[in-house]
């Protein structure tokens, strides 16, 4: 891939990749690193992908893998096994709430959603990916994606409610031991 094509690829995808990374890593510095690392891998390996239509999925998959790889090194990170169920139905007030909040606050609320739900949720919201595309990007079964979208949205609504209600300190959801993602 020549420089111009690479620049076009970066231009098309770096912003949504950054938003995805920000939701996963929960801080801008690590998110920037993840995006740079993803394009670095593309520059050194991904050039073999000739079908640019698959580049988007490849980039998101690679970023997610890099995030998981980094997280495995971090013993302080939470476990994917600790996943609470989602439990909040959408009400009309929820829509108004989101409209009142600024983008950074909505992102902060999203960052409190459990990681297993957060990744598909972010691709759904930010990149407008279908459930099949999300399954491909995250390398999980379609049924798992649908389940995590459903439960993740419920968690997000609760998180947004907490943010606005002024509990201000948005804490990660407590996870009952033994609960699993499905």
């Amino acid at each position: 891939m020549n420089n111009e094509a690479f620049a076009q690829l970066v231009d098309a995808h770096y912003a949504p990749l950054y938003r995805f990374a920000l939701s996963l890593a929960r801080n801008g510095s690590d998110a920037g690193d993840l995006v740079q690392q993803t394009f670095f891998i593309w520059a050194t390996k991904g050039d073999g992908i000739r079908e640019l239509s698959k580049a988007k999925s490849w980039l998101f998959t690679t970023l997610y893998r890099e995030f998981l790889r980094g997280r495995r090194r971090d013993s302080r990170s939470s476990s994917l096994e600790d996943l609470p169920p989602g439990e909040k139905e959408p009400v009309a007030e929820d829509v108004d709430r989101v409209s009142r909040l600024d983008a950074a606050t909505v992102m902060t609320a999203l960052q409190t959603v459990d990681e297993a739900f957060r990744a598909p949720l972010t691709l759904f919201y930010i990149e407008d990916m279908s459930y099949q595309e999300i399954a491909e990007a995250l390398e999980v079964p379609i049924g798992t994606v649908m389940s995590r979208l459903s439960r993740g949205k419920s968690q997000l609504r609760l998180a947004l409610e907490r943010v606005e209600s002024g509990s201000s300190k948005v804490l990660p959801f407590p996870g009952p031991k033994g609960a699993r993602a499905s």
């Binding site: 690479f6 620049a7 690193d33 520059a43 050194t44 983008a103 999203l110 919201y125 407008d128």
Partner: protein, 244 residues
Amino acid sequence: MTNEEAKFTLSAFRPNGSDSGDATFCDALRMAGDDPVLGSWFTRSRAHDAAVSDKLRQIAPPPGLKEAILAGARASGPKGRSGRGWGWIAGLAAAAALAIGVFSMKAPVRPGVATTAYASFAINDMVSEKHGGRGDPAGALVARLQTTGARMPGADQIDFEKMRDTGCRTLNFQGHQVLEVCFVRDGSLFHLYMAPRDGAQGAAPAQGPSFVTLAAGAAAIWSDSRFDYAVASTAGVEAIRRLL
């Protein structure tokens, strides 16, 4: 299909309606059209999804990220990848597009792009306003650093694993762990970053220091036999130079 099952399925329906032709949603959509309660739920759910989506898309990447990606790719294509010394950070080269002034202590020698990338990493992290140095070993190091006239630590004063395992802030830079502590000296705040050098422990030659100035701040980069160091501050190069 029950209403709960329909809700489950419709949770994956994108708010822009682009899944309308997907057979997976047919039954659930029909039910939402026939059942006022489910229909109302679906309307609220889509409106909520659209609102969240709109907000999240307003998040902008930090200035310079795109330029850093492009510079990093130019600096580290397939042939440019190195496995030794500074090679592990060559991929970032983040500051290549941002560096304003770079000079060494003794002579105006421009450091390698990877050196600049490490400095950029330190400066960019510094402006995130996060502070490291938790735990007793890190606290002892910070106490030393805050003493006027104290020199920057050497390899023999840093127990990397102990600091990391007792809660010192640990960052990830190109797959390598970097410890960070912050300290105040003569009224200015500094951030010190310590990354174990690859492979040749005890044999790698000392390097630097070199200085990098970006719009957001300045950093000095140097190495000893075991670590690559960066100290960053908004107080300017001269303030950093006085530490060394």
